[in-house]
């Protein structure tokens, strides 16, 4: 009985505080004639999202959705790059080569202990605006990329949008099916599966056939006086945010990878040595698969952090979800519903990511003997 009384007291207190806050909110908004519903979503946004053809008087709903897409763009690109860089640095920290391991250690210790906001601001103000050349003498990297302080132009596809993603998905499916078929062949006959090569090949074949069949093309960026034409121009703010997120998250992932590799029993590496695997085979076939089984949950946490940290793009004018929300509020939309919606959207993104990470985790755990 005492337990239930205690519980009711706690819950009662929480409910009372919430009701009090909400009552204040309703009173204050009624007083100032501020709407509390989501009706503002249909109003025109009245601002232009950089690097996007969405018109300025599109409804706020579309602007917010574009913000979500921008958040996703930088997050997905950042997650992929940070995972690769972090894994490499994590392996490098354990290298027997003195210079490589020291360099990796310096990178991790230097980056991990400095606020991300500093990297974001420095990425824009120091790297892009300070180090990158003006458009007149832009760096041209083998005709493939044009780097200047107005952004980085890289090759891009013509006529491909959503279709490209579908094509990629079909290709991935084909790769997966072929890889499965190869490993079942290998189980039956004992020939080397080489599922990576076969799967990659299947992906390429499907992708190229689809590419030609659907009539896609690509363009290379080129300089035309004071601007670039062709390709796609990556905005300076995107580049700065991407750079900061990748460096910062990679330093955290590197520590996780290092810890996980060290957690793989020594005997595994010794066994790989004793069957004369090369250093690469030892890492790729023996150590890393076992290390990643341990590393997936903490790396998933870093992915979640990266998505949430991408909100810092708002500080340097990258129109992610946060900056769109901020601008919307600045243009006179009611603050509380906008930010509540923003938080709900972020929580959705987090939930989706953690579901994906959980699936990966369960799958990698199933492989266990």
């Amino acid at each position: 009985v005492l337990k239930w009384v205690a519980q009711l007291v706690v819950v009662g207190l929480v409910v009372a505080v919430v009701i009090w806050l909400y009552g204040n909110y309703l009173d204050n908004t009624a007083e100032q004639n501020i709407p509390t519903d989501l009706g503002f979503l249909g109003n025109p946004a009245n601002f232009q999202i950089t690097g996007n053809e969405l018109s300025a008087n599109a409804p706020i709903r579309d602007a917010l959705w574009e913000g979500v897409l921008n958040t996703l763009r930088v997050s997905v690109a950042g997650i992929v790059a940070a995972t690769i860089l972090g894994t490499l640095v994590g392996i490098a920290r354990l290298s027997r080569n003195w210079i490589v391991s020291k360099l990796a250690t310096v990178f991790v210790e230097a980056v991990r202990n400095v606020p991300l906001a500093l990297f974001v601001v420095a990425g824009l103000l120091v790297v892009v605006l300070g180090v990158f050349p003006t458009i007149q003498d832009a760096w041209q990297v083998g005709g493939l990329a044009i780097v200047s302080n107005r952004g980085v132009a890289v090759p891009w596809f013509i006529g491909a949008g959503f279709g490209l993603i579908v094509l990629g998905a079909i290709g991935a499916l084909a790769a997966w099916l072929v890889a499965r078929w190869r490993s079942s062949v290998s189980d039956r006959t004992g020939v080397l599966p080489r599922s990576g090569l076969w799967g990659g090949g299947a992906f390429l074949v499907v992708f190229v056939i689809g590419w030609i069949a659907l009539g896609y093309d690509w363009t290379l960026p080129s300089l035309d006086g004071r601007q670039t034409i062709g390709g796609i121009r990556i905005d300076p703010s995107f580049f700065a945010l991407f750079f900061a997120l990748v460096i910062y998250t990679a330093s955290h992932i590197a520590e996780i990878v290092r810890g996980s590799i060290q957690a793989v029993p020594r005997g595994q590496g010794e066994a790989a040595d004793s069957v004369a695997l090369s250093a690469f085979q030892r890492m790729w076939y023996v150590i890393l698969p076992q290390a990643f089984r341990i590393a997936i949950p903490p790396i998933g946490n870093q992915y979640l952090n990266l998505i949430k940290n991408s909100s810092l793009g708002a500080a340097i004018g990258y129109y992610d979800l946060t900056l769109v929300a901020q601008t919307t509020v600045g243009n006179g939309s009611p603050a509380v519903p906008v930010f509540a919606l923003t938080m709900v959207l972020y929580i959705c993104l987090s939930l989706i990511t953690s579901v994906l990470v959980n699936i990966a985790n369960r799958r990698s755990a199933l492989v266990e003997r």
Partner: protein, 409 residues
């Protein structure tokens, strides 16, 4: 291996660690070149191309913001008092540990000084650099007196810690120790309101306040989430998951723009207080998850043993479970606190507080430095400040972890 390598000379060492295989040799050459280039760039930036005038001129703004000149003495007094307090606390705790037989009191004075030097040389060097940059005698005097105060406190501390105090005596000592920072806080805040705080001092202050406040809340939330009472559990879980799902930056924006709607004007806190509240509420949710992990790591046998000797549920938690749980997750907790400290820069971006990052961008717009691309210099300086504190904290946490023997039992 290193010992033999040293004995047989640098050549053998290089062969083992740099040129083991041809691939290894190639890596060494490539990365050696990269490191040399980075080293050259860094050194030439520090000594040749960097124009550090902007730091020297604005050092005060970067460290304490627009703190009024007339009250700076109060800050100096606070620093000295905190140093004395810290020294006293260290001596006090050590004497109690020696008395209860937890540590042996056989460390010689040179060894102890060596230990302190090994631990604190890095912040020491940075403080020295700041003193050299300041160019006025005031900070030198303050730091000198603070060091003397810390040593004096360390020497006095054991006299309070050595004798066995009754429960009343202990309570008096602990209350006194706890009161010191609170008194100092009011000593400074009554003179200079929050609005005039700024610079690195504000970063440190926001972080310390939020750290102190988030601990009890985090423990309560963790216990609540593990509670057998379903309603409490639901409330705590909802809170933790909601806060963890949202970015801190958005929460700060929300507190800045929207808090006014939720509380009456008379209660609306100042911007710095809002920042502290948000940091506390945010970090508490993460802290709760870490502590929950610690609670789960305490073996069931411990609780059963506590029950068997007839402790009440509150005492089981307070005396048996919590101490072990908190100890088991010290590295994660300190990691969270470091990230909280780093996140205080967000208060500048989201709320416009004049903390270090905002100062670093603001000073490049000053008349004498405008348009000269000095942001690299100021950001490097800010990064050095944050890096020193965070790195020292993480090293101390590793040391604490070793001393407490985490993972050994």
């Amino acid at each position: 291996m290193t010992a033999t390598a040293h004995r047989s000379g640098a050549l053998v060492w290089a062969r083992r660690n740099l040129f083991r295989t041809p691939l290894d040799g190639a890596l060494t050459i490539v990365f050696g070149a990269i490191s040399l280039w980075l080293l050259y760039k860094t050194l030439s930036f520090i000594f040749v191309t960097g124009r550090w005038d902007i730091i020297r001129v604005n050092l005060r703004l970067m460290m304490i913001g627009r703190f009024p000149e007339v009250h700076v003495l109060r800050l100096a007094v606070t620093v000295v008092a905190l140093a004395a307090w810290g020294g006293f606390l260290a001596g006090f705790i050590r004497a109690r540990q020696v008395r209860s037989g937890k540590v042996a009191d056989d460390v010689s004075l040179p060894a102890r000084i060596g230990d302190i030097a090994a631990r604190l040389w890095l912040p020491g060097v940075v403080v020295l650099l700041l003193l050299l940059l300041s160019g006025t005698p005031g900070p030198w005097i303050m730091v000198g007196v603070a060091i003397l105060a810390a040593v004096a406190g360390r020497l006095v501390g054991p006299f309070a810690g050595r004798p066995k105090l009754g429960p009343g005596g202990s309570a008096v000592v602990f209350a006194g120790l706890g009161a010191v920072p609170v008194v100092l806080y009011f000593y400074v805040v009554t003179a200079v309101g929050f609005d005039d705080w700024g610079g690195f001092m504000l970063n440190l202050f926001l972080a310390i306040c939020a750290i102190v406040l988030c601990f009890p809340l985090g423990i309560l939330l963790a216990l609540g989430r593990r509670s057998t009472l379903p309603l409490v559990r639901v409330v705590c879980t909802t809170y933790i998951e909601l806060v963890r799902g949202a970015p801190l930056f958005v929460l700060l924006l929300l507190a800045n723009v929207a808090l006014g709607f939720f509380v009456p004007d008379s209660l609306a806190p100042s911007t710095s207080t809002r920042a502290i509240i948000v940091f506390t509420l945010f970090t508490a949710a993460y802290m709760a998850e870490i502590i929950r992990g610690g609670l789960q790591s305490v073996p069931r046998g411990q609780i059963e043993a506590a029950k068997a000797v007839g402790l009440s549920p509150a005492r089981q938690t307070g005396y048996i479970v919590l101490p072990q749980a908190l100890r088991n997750v010290i590295p994660a907790q300190i990691g969270q606190l470091i990230s909280l400290f780093k996140d205080t820069t967000l208060a500048g971006i989201a709320m416009g507080l004049f903390e270090l990052l905002n100062v670093t961008t603001a000073v490049t717009a000053q008349e004498q430095f405008r348009g000269q691309g000095l942001i690299g210099e100021t950001i490097t300086f800010a990064a050095l400040m944050f890096w020193t504190v965070s790195y020292t904290m993480s090293r101390e946490s590793q040391r604490l972890e070793r001393r407490l023997g985490v993972g050994e039992r």
